[in-house]
Amino acid sequence: MTDTSLPQNAPRGSNSILATDARTKKRNAAEKRFRALGMGAIGIGLFFLIVLFTTIIRSGAPAFTRTVVDVQFTLTQAQYDEAEGTLFKTAAYADLFIAQLGEILAEQDVAADFDAESIERTLGKVGGTLREFYRANEDQLDQPVNFSLATSSRVDGYLKGRVTLEGIEDSRFLMASDLDLVDELQAAGVIKSEFNWPFITGADSGVDNPGGAGIGASVVGSFFMMLVVLALALPIGVAASIYLEEFAVQNRFTDLIEVNISNLAAVPSIVFGILGLAVFIQFAGLPQSAPLVGGLVLTLMTLPTIIISTRAALKAVPPSIREAALGVGASKMQTVFHHVLPLAMPGILTGTIIGLAQALGETAPLLLIGMVGFVARGYPDGFLTGFTEANSAMPAQIYTWAARADAAFYDKAWGGIIILLIFLMFMNILAVILRRRFERRW
């Protein structure tokens, strides 16, 4: 027996598979580095996402609150008659208001020093508001009425920390002394913060009144545009996809359509704006800034998206369905419209909603057809005029605010983005639910 075993504790050679040599170590390290790079890339992407959303929420939140001065004001019949009798009626109301505000502050032991001008700079034209109220509600005379008077945008900014006492320069809009008054009002407890309904429901204000700007009118404009897109893009897109998927024979014409659709999907959106300007406004003479024109342009833009998803949905319906229908005597057309299309409907709707969401956020083409620079001061009068009357749209309104020089509008722009993203989120969630709930796997 010459069996010899290997010495147990002899050093392993450099080519042993049990020891990691320098080269393997290097390769493994390279492997780890590569993996870390990949993880890092995803981390950076997600980091950007988080930064983006926190920025939006942090910057947009102030738009949803506004500060008001809550005061109880009583106007007697005698005071009313006297004020209506003077030459400067609103000034008379303002004087009465100032007197009562002084009393309220005195009750709280707050020594404040203000005059009609400082009140106008901090609270806007109080006299006008009061006069309007009492002229409309004469029965409210002689009894205390609670007024919530919105502070001016700069005072609002001061209370939200956007405007500071140090950084302020005296102007006709705001003086440093006004901020002292605001501090005193705050000490007296008459300044309150409340949810900014006028921002949600209101229309755009002019360039010099950031406080009163609201997004409501442009939401309506976007809504009308989406109606146009839905009414045109869905039927046209579905019809085109049915033709291409179910009927078209492979020939030059079909190829031409296919090439066109894939190219249109990648044409920059601004080019569609040029098309809208040249064809719909210049050539066809449709009105500028109208949701109808915006809707038409966005329809052409969304068509490729809808066609691509509809074709995928039609393709997913198994051929056995078609064969069964044809077998019991349905015509080709009946097969498609009675059997294939209903089965593909959830997929088609999902694609349509995603296309609509894309169209809702699109801005560039709207700039060219005049939906920017137009101040949407009110809601359209009726349903039909809503399509042709000049209006703004949500993204166009946000751009208008962002392009204004006054920083007070930036809050509004961020707030508008939150509203826009909420709409988009709902549409996408709806699409996901539709897909989860109704999509069939064959």
Binding site: A41, L264, P268, F283, G361, L368
Partner: protein, 490 residues
């Protein structure tokens, strides 16, 4: 709204035709449906289609031709002498149309009688005042030939609309008569209806071609018009972009090179951000990530692609710009003058493009057959070596295609550069300087006060044409590469 009324009337005729056609066909066999060639509803639909489609097509054709004919006739009425030196026939025609609209609104508002608007007037100030009272816009003083032309324009449009409505209704009635006469049990109604529906489907599919045609034509015509006013060589090779603000002066420099440079510079910065991050994210997601990580990270990354570009624009203007200014501006390194710069726009655009690069590359990497990887593992390669030496080379053409698509996106992007890149056109290498792009200038030239027929506004169409050609070339190239690559493994 006469068109709407016309539409409703034709629709009503179609509905009536449906009912009559259906009942006539049923009556022809005494109510025995089995003896009919097609289902009863097909006979009704046949009539409705014959009412609606010809009338509809006729109206569309009329509406397309009428403005051209009216414009040509009215345009001939304006004598050469009535066109001022610094004006053109197109501008005068725009004025004519404005006055015609003004007359319409003045009549509607009760500012003048319909008769007054129709007959030639001598007191032009009075007419101007009446139009202005009704909210009409009159830019310059109305002259006698222009007013005449405007009245002629109104008259021709009025008669034209009247004749169109009459003819459309006649055609609809004729279609109804034709369809109802056909409604017999022997008539192959289903075949006819299905052929029409098929034609309708083809028509819908052709909209894609029409859209492309519309884009190309509207760009080409206005570009030719531009080159008539401004030399093409100066546009393509000019290194200075300085449009005059008046909108009518002849002293504008409209060289495209600074804009193209800005466009490419910003796109390069954007791709420098998006390509490495997107590519590594795609590699990790497709090769390393567990199913759970993938199902969370991929949709989250794609959220970045679903955010509207206006959001990114605002992010660039109000967040990234000031942040960069703090680091590279006066108080920091001193390279940057203002928040809007190539770097600002490029960085933000890069973020936007990450999911674009990552999902396209992800699809392409996933399409590489597993056998290639297994072969590489079998030879002892590590996972990263397999990716670097086998998977990526195999996927390279597709990845190049994805990057080209992302580049075309970057070149065509508008909102981020409008808000984030600044407005000054310059040829500079400093990425912290403000530059501007083709898209941003299209917006500013078409939304400004410049008159529509001036070179300052028309240049936007030449810019659009440039943009369209560049992006189209990139897309076609990218699709060609991707398609060619796909064929390899299928």
């Amino acid at each position: 709204m006469p068109i709407l009324w016309l539409f409703l009337i034709v629709l009503a005729i179609a509905a009536a035709g449906y009912v009559i056609g259906r009942s006539r066909a049923v009556a022809s066999v005494g109510g025995d449906h089995r003896k009919m060639h097609s289902l009863a509803s097909f006979y009704g639909s046949n009539v409705a289609i014959k009412v609606f489609v010809p009338a509809f097509l006729f109206t569309i054709a009329w509406l397309l031709v009428q403005p051209i004919v009216v414009n040509a006739t009215v345009s001939d009425m304006i004598p050469e002498a009535a066109i001022a030196d610094n004006s053109s026939r197109g501008l005068v025609m725009a004025e004519v149309r404005r006055i015609a609209d003004g007359l319409d609104s003045a009549v509607a508002a009760g500012g003048m009688s319909a008769d007054f608007a129709r007959t030639p007037q001598t007191d032009l100030d009075d007419v101007t005042q009446r139009i202005k009272d009704a909210g009409g816009v009159v830019t310059s003083d109305i002259t006698a030939p222009v007013l005449n032309a405007a009245q002629r324009y109104r008259a021709m449009n009025g008669t034209g609309n009247f004749i169109m409505s009459g003819l459309a209704i006649l055609i609809a009635l004729g279609g109804a008569w034709w369809g109802i006469r056909e409604s017999h049990a022997d008539f192959r109604a289903r075949n006819t209806v299905e052929t029409s529906i098929r034609a309708l489907l083809i028509g819908a599919a052709s909209i894609a071609i029409l859209t492309t045609l519309g884009i190309v034509l509207s760009l080409i015509f206005n570009t030719i018009e531009f080159f008539r006013l401004y030399p093409a060589a100066d546009f393509f090779f000019g290194t200075n972009w300085a449009p005059s603000f008046s909108g009518r002066g002849g002293s504008s420099d409209l060289g495209v090179l600074p804009l193209l440079w800005g466009t490419f510079y910003i796109s390069i910065v954007a791709l420098a951000v998006a390509v490495p991050i997107g590519l590594f994210a795609a590699i990790y997601l497709s090769e390393y990530a567990s199913k759970r990580v993938r199902s969370v990270a991929k949709p989250l990354l794609e959220v970045l692609a679903g955010i509207p570009t206006i959001v990114y624009g605002l992010f660039a203007l109000l967040t990234v710009g000031p942040l960069l200014l703090e680091i590279f501006g006066k108080d920091g390194l001193g390279w940057m003058q203002a928040g809007t710069a190539v770097m600002t726009a490029g960085l933000v655009m890069g973020i936007m493009l990450i999911p674009f690069v990552s999902s396209l590359s992800d699809d392409i990497i996933n399409a590489v057959p597993q056998a290639l990887r297994d072969g590489s593992y079998g030879l002892g390669a590590t996972q990263s070596e397999t990716i670097k030496q086998v998977v990526l080379p195999a996927a390279l053409p597709g990845i190049v295609g994805a990057i080209l698509l992302a580049a075309s996106r970057a070149i065509g992007e508008t909102m981020i550069v409008v808000l984030g890149a600044g407005a000054a056109a310059r040829l500079s290498l400093n990425p912290f300087e403000a530059m501007t792009t083709v898209t941003a200038k299209i917006v500013s030239q078409l939304t400004g006060d410049a008159d529509f027929a001036s070179p300052e506004a028309l240049v936007a169409f030449a810019l659009g044409m440039t943009l369209f050609v560049i992006t189209l070339a990139l897309n076609v190239l990218a699709l060609y590469i991707v398609r060619k690559y796909r064929e390899q493994y299928e």
